[in-house]
Symmetry: C2
């Protein structure tokens, strides 16, 4: 096995200089770095992450905590987060709250993760409290908890929803339904409050019989929409908590032979790639999920490498309305 | 910071016994294990994975090498693989071949991963050679390489394709097109060879103008289908390399105002959840991707923990044809 001692000998530098050069320490000159890298390459030397973790006192692995890895929303979070972390020299480890390997906090501490991104926070989560107690850096992704301040990346639904409500009024919808998100999430709560207020400003009241709540998944959209459609006087429009819920709603419409948008309009939130498919053409509310995922990675890395920053930082992503084919004139 | 010494003192056992008890060593009695676990819980002690990795001489982390994390195929691979690995006490680390952190082999060795699942193998990949040279255990997922034998989980397309071709003949299709997968992958090659042979047995020859090859992604399905549809006499059926390619084909049909299946039939491969959506109803070839992903995890863990096994094991998953709404009678 080739060691850093061998690399030092070949490069003609000291052993500590090899470590510093390979972790791109600015105190080492570019010429020396090149020399060390060439010697390392010639000998096939790879610095050992376990050893590096011990010497740094922390690992270069961070976790992403999600509930359901099969939810396609996470597909578009994991990819950019992975790439941004790789750029910074970190690895992404997936952690599910239902993982059989035990409670998340123990898992994070036991496996020496340097920090975590939380994408599953409910308003009364105890996970942030526990991570805080253990001194584990973390960042809220999309959803936040009330009781523990921490760095966060969130979405402001208001600009997108304002434009959406304008279109709803223009298309003549008055019998409006909604499949809101989970009531114990900040995203579910905020989107519901903002939407109800904006609709009310236009004189549109959501009848309780046309409102459902559910997790942000396909089944919630599908099951709730079947219930709404099976009423004697169904809504002419269903506003969904997100695109995945809206796809469930479109499946329910297809199942019942209800044509979108002539019989029923449907709107989502997130603008995932599937929303833009020619065979879907979902009207929805867009924001830069890719940038938001990368920003969460950057905030976490900065929190890990510079723990001195005191205040919690919040990066807010604006929204816009993307009108496609699923929101049309109100059915008569 | 609580150490294993503190736990040993509270439990009234030796320090090595604490380590052995916490890693569930069968040589330690159940009574002692309980005593140690209770002491560890009382003190808030979490065994350190970095220390454990050093003492075991290996980590409990394995990698999954993929090309494109945004391809929804991987969503349904990552979730079951993650769960199976968590059950066995391992963490899943995602590695992309385009990762900025450098060549995959160096990454795996440098980060002390215990093994990897390869989901991106091309027939002439050098990655298996390099991993073999470094003694890193690995498992081929879905695709294999010619030159390096190793454990693998693969799909046998023949049963599903046999039933598919029977349906194609029954529906009267003779002008058949195909968007095959990448020509440098074992899956692309095998599926093409088997399909051509089964069609030929029924007197159906694929005209070269109706055949395209591409990566297994949406863009390949979309772009190739537009080309096939824009010919003077387009095929009445397009057989796609997988479901993701078929969704691209359906989008192209929607784009051109071509109705499926009355103007054009489309078939996929994989039976991902989207194939069963009421608004999609894709006819496709199914196999147990969930079981296959879990099996890959099990093979890798067994290879890591019992390196003595000599022969390469191959687990083959059978296929079946799922006729839904996108394959209908040939357009006249």
């Amino acid at each position: 096995m080739v060691t850093s001692r061998d690399v030092a000998r070949l490069a003609g530098v000291s052993q500590p200089t090899v470590s510093r050069a390979l972790r791109d320490d600015p105190k080492v000159s570019e010429a020396t770095k090149r020399q060390v890298r060439e010697a390392a390459a010639a000998l096939g030397y790879a610095p050992n992450a376990i050893g590096r973790a011990l010497s740094l006192g922390r690992s270069t692995r961070v976790g992403l905590v999600v509930t359901d890895l099969r939810n396609q929303f996470y597909t578009y979070v994991i990819a950019p987060m992975h790439h941004e972390l790789a750029r910074a020299g970190y690895e992404l480890v997936l952690i599910t709250e239902t993982s059989e390997s035990g409670p998340v906090t123990e898992h994070v501490v036991a496996n020496g993760l340097s920090g975590v991104v939380l994408a599953t926070t409910t308003t009364d989560s105890i996970l942030p409290v526990r991570l805080g107690d253990r001194g584990v850096p973390f960042v809220y992704f999309n959803r936040t908890a009330r009781n523990v301040p921490a760095d966060s990346v969130v979405v402001d639904p208001e600009p997108g929803m304002t434009a959406l409500v304008k279109d709803i009024v223009a298309q003549g919808h008055t019998r409006v339904g909604a499949v809101f998100g989970a009531e114990d999430t900040s995203t579910g709560q905020v989107r519901e409050v903002v939407l109800r207020r904006l609709l009310l400003d236009q004189g549109i009241v959501l009848a309780e019989r046309n409102v459902r709540h559910g997790p942000f998944d396909l089944e919630a959209g599908y099951g709730s929409t079947l219930q709404l459609l099976d009423q004697p006087e169904p809504p002419t429009l269903i506003i969904c908590a997100n695109d995945v819920v809206a796809i469930g709603a479109l499946n329910a419409a297809a199942e019942r032979g209800v044509t979108v948008p002539s019989d029923l309009s449907v709107v989502g939130f997130d603008d995932l790639p599937i929303a833009g498919f020619a065979m879907v053409q979902l009207s929805t509310i867009a924001y830069d999920l890719d940038a938001m995922s990368r920003e969460a990675a950057r905030l976490l890395v900065s929190r890990i490498e510079d723990p001195g920053v005191e205040e919690a930082r919040s990066v807010v992503f604006p929204t816009s309305y993307v009108g496609r084919s699923t929101l049309g004139p109100a059915a008569s």
